[in-house]
């Protein structure tokens, strides 16, 4: 019988329940549809909608606010964003101002968006590959101390970023002589900071891949590299997709690492650096913040939608023929 991750544990838990037929194929469409009708109860729907509403209303307020004239947003003449629906005062001016050039300091927002993309894509790729390699060895390698080493790596998550910045910058500029004002420093720094959590998340998933699958491949003569690339990675697509979206976001929304390693020039600075400055030295234009926040959220949301289908498939489509 083929097994899917988490199955062993689930099987054990089910011992108490008198089970009927167990060997139903995972991709059996009609059954999935029946389950669907059963689990989506009116109560669940209502609860889900309530949570969705509570989670969205604050952001929605910001969205409405981003279209309101400055005087309505800040200061004593301002009122709650919901009043926009009564006074009908909407404007695109904030978006125009937020994206327009404010002099040589900010050529335009698109350059910062391109920088952010150029930083985030390699980092996400590096973290995914390096973390899954390490996670695979921690889960399925065979050497003494891997258990302790994994726990150690996991504990590294607590090292505060702030404490790591100075030694790393020293290394980059004085030992490695990496050029300032290029992406290289940012790529390496972000990759380092992403690794402990990446390894931790992927290890959980990869270690739950059934041992029989890997054993079977070994018997067929597959080496570690083959198992890793042909079996582990395809089976881990949902976990990889989850990690990818979060790694993408953390780097996309990072300001601290960017400030230290980008050299701050518009050539490499990411969008967050511009966002932090858009309101001016003393916050005189802080009514631009809502519009700028929504310009910055577009790409991460797009990535989220693009990756969503992998959260669902992967395992089922990974096609384990038993």
């Amino acid at each position: 019988m083929t097994a899917t991750p988490a199955r062993d544990e689930a099987d054990k838990a089910l011992v108490g329940l008198p089970l009927g037929e167990k060997g139903i194929h995972a991709a059996d469409e009609p059954i999935m549809r029946r389950v669907k009708t059963k689990l989506t109860s009116p109560f669940a729907t209502a609860a889900a909608l309530i949570i969705a509403a509570i989670w969205t209303v604050p952001t929605f307020g910001l969205f409405v606010q981003s279209f309101r004239p400055a005087a309505k947003q800040v200061g004593p003449r301002s009122d709650g964003w919901w009043n926009a629906f009564f006074d009908g005062q909407f404007t695109f001016k904030n978006y125009v101002d937020a994206t327009a050039a404010a002099g040589s300091q900010s050529p335009n927002l698109s350059q910062y968006l391109i920088n952010s993309t150029a930083i985030v894509i390699p980092v996400t790729l590096f973290v995914l590959v390096l973390a899954s390699m390490a996670a695979y060895i921690f889960a399925w390698g065979n050497f003494r101390g891997r258990h302790a080493m994994f726990i150690f790596v996991f504990a590294l998550q607590i090292v505060p970023l702030q404490m790591a910045l100075i030694p790393l910058l020293q290394l980059f500029t004085q030992v490695l002589q990496l050029p300032a004002g290029s992406y290289t420093q940012l790529w390496i720094a972000h990759t380092i900071f992403g690794l402990p959590l990446g390894i931790f998340l992927l290890h959980n998933f990869i270690s739950e891949i059934p041992g029989e699958v890997i054993e079977a491949a070994r018997v067929d003569g597959a080496g570690h590299t083959t198992i890793f690339w042909r079996i582990i990675l395809p089976l881990s697509v949902p976990a990889l997709a989850s990690l990818a979206i979060f790694q993408f976001l953390w780097v996309w929304n990072d300001l601290l690492v960017a400030l230290v390693f980008s050299g701050g020039t518009p050539d490499v600075a990411p969008i967050t650096q511009r966002l932090a400055e858009i309101s001016g030295t003393r916050g005189a234009r802080d009514y631009l913040n809502p519009a700028a926040a929504f310009v910055s959220i577009i790409i991460p949301l797009g990535v989220f939608f693009a990756l969503q289908r992998y959260f669902v498939r992967g395992l089922l489509a990974g096609g384990l023929k038993g």
């Binding site: 969205t56 590959v129 994994f150 726990i151 929304n253 669902v312």
Partner: protein, 321 residues
């Protein structure tokens, strides 16, 4: 757009170089003589990540540990920093808050994230519904700050309210409230912000895990007459236990480290400070890196129980296998 081309080229070169390194490692592992192959595999697969982490995390951690026993000028001063830490007037409140944060945030985020993931599982419009709860994670920090100002904002009684909550209070005839000023409940209002952000994380990970629970098991339980709650309790939960531990752990560590919510919303005033915020303030504002490092060590101590718990879970997993 010349500059786009140049940047694309840089990205391309970086990815190619990375691919070359990984390819070389794989080649070496494959070509290694059989006797040493296992060893070479372990080294090859671990070395890139290990080198990066030793340089970028282990070394700074060691340095921080040393720094914790020095004063502002870098001369060793024994345990002075720790004495200072526990004798300052707000020390107890800061610690208390940190504990409240690390208990409530992981718990609430996971409960909401899990419930939501289950409720919308296979529902129509699942993608959109997921995106709604995911959105707080994607919004920039500047944006999130404004969002919660729009929720908690205060204007005196009789003046037009700009915050949602106070507008609601006034609408039902209550006095407006200073949500961020009134201790101790203001800590809860800050925690809500963190829960709002982290729920998206819990939801995405747990939703993926739920979809990994074999559908035939759920179906079998259903045929055996289990109601939806029993199906959830007896099939889904055991099936996603590993992911639950991961989510709880990750959010706990993130919560211990988080300081920017406190920093930007109250600057740690009004009895809302947490250890991470004190660490940041001491190291980067007050020019006392030694005290900052000492606080970082305390954070590390606070995370130890979680490390131990994970180690135990890991051992259990190994034994099961």
């Amino acid at each position: 757009m010349e500059f786009v081309g140049g940047k694309l080229l840089q990205v391309g070169i970086a990815i190619a170089a990375f691919a070359a390194v990984i390819g070389l490692i794989m080649l070496l592992v494959d070509r290694a003589p059989k006797s040493t192959r296992d060893k070479v595999t372990v080294i090859g697969f671990l070395a890139p990540a290990a080198i990066l982490m030793i340089v970028g995390l282990v070394y700074p951690a060691v340095q921080t540990s040393y720094l914790a026993f020095t004063d502002a000028k870098g001369t060793p001063n024994g345990v002075d920093n720790f004495v200072w830490m526990f004798t300052q007037p707000e020390a107890v409140i800061t610690l208390r808050n940190t504990v409240i944060w690390t208990v409530l945030v992981p718990l609430l985020s996971t409960v909401f994230g899990l419930a939501y993931a289950v409720f919308i599982d296979k529902a129509r419009g699942e993608r959109i519904l997921k995106a709604l709860v995911f959105m707080p994670m994607a919004i920039s920090f500047v944006g999130a700050g404004v969002i919660w100002k729009l929720v908690y904002d205060f204007r005196g009684a009789g003046i037009e309210q700009t915050g949602v909550l106070n507008a609601l209070r006034v609408a039902v005839g209550m006095d407006p409230k200073q949500f961020l000023l009134d201790a101790p409940e203001n800590t809860i209002f800050l925690i809500i912000v963190m829960v709002w952000i982290q729920t998206g994380f819990a939801m995405v990970i747990l939703s993926a895990a739920i979809k990994g629970v074999p559908v035939e098991l759920v179906e079998a339980a259903r045929l055996d007459g289990a109601n939806p709650w029993q199906q959830f309790r007896n099939v889904t939960i055991p099936g996603i236990r590993g992911s639950l531990v991961v989510v709880l752990t990750t959010i706990t560590i993130a919560t211990l480290k988080v300081f920017d919510i406190v920093r930007t919303m109250t600057a740690g005033n009004f009895e809302t400070s947490v250890v991470a915020n004190e660490m940041y303030t001491q190291a980067f504002r007050a020019d006392e890196p030694g005290r900052g490092a000492a606080l970082a060590l305390v954070l590390f101590l606070l995370v130890l129980p979680i490390v131990v718990y994970n180690a135990r879970v890991l051992r259990q997993q190994r034994e099961i296998r």
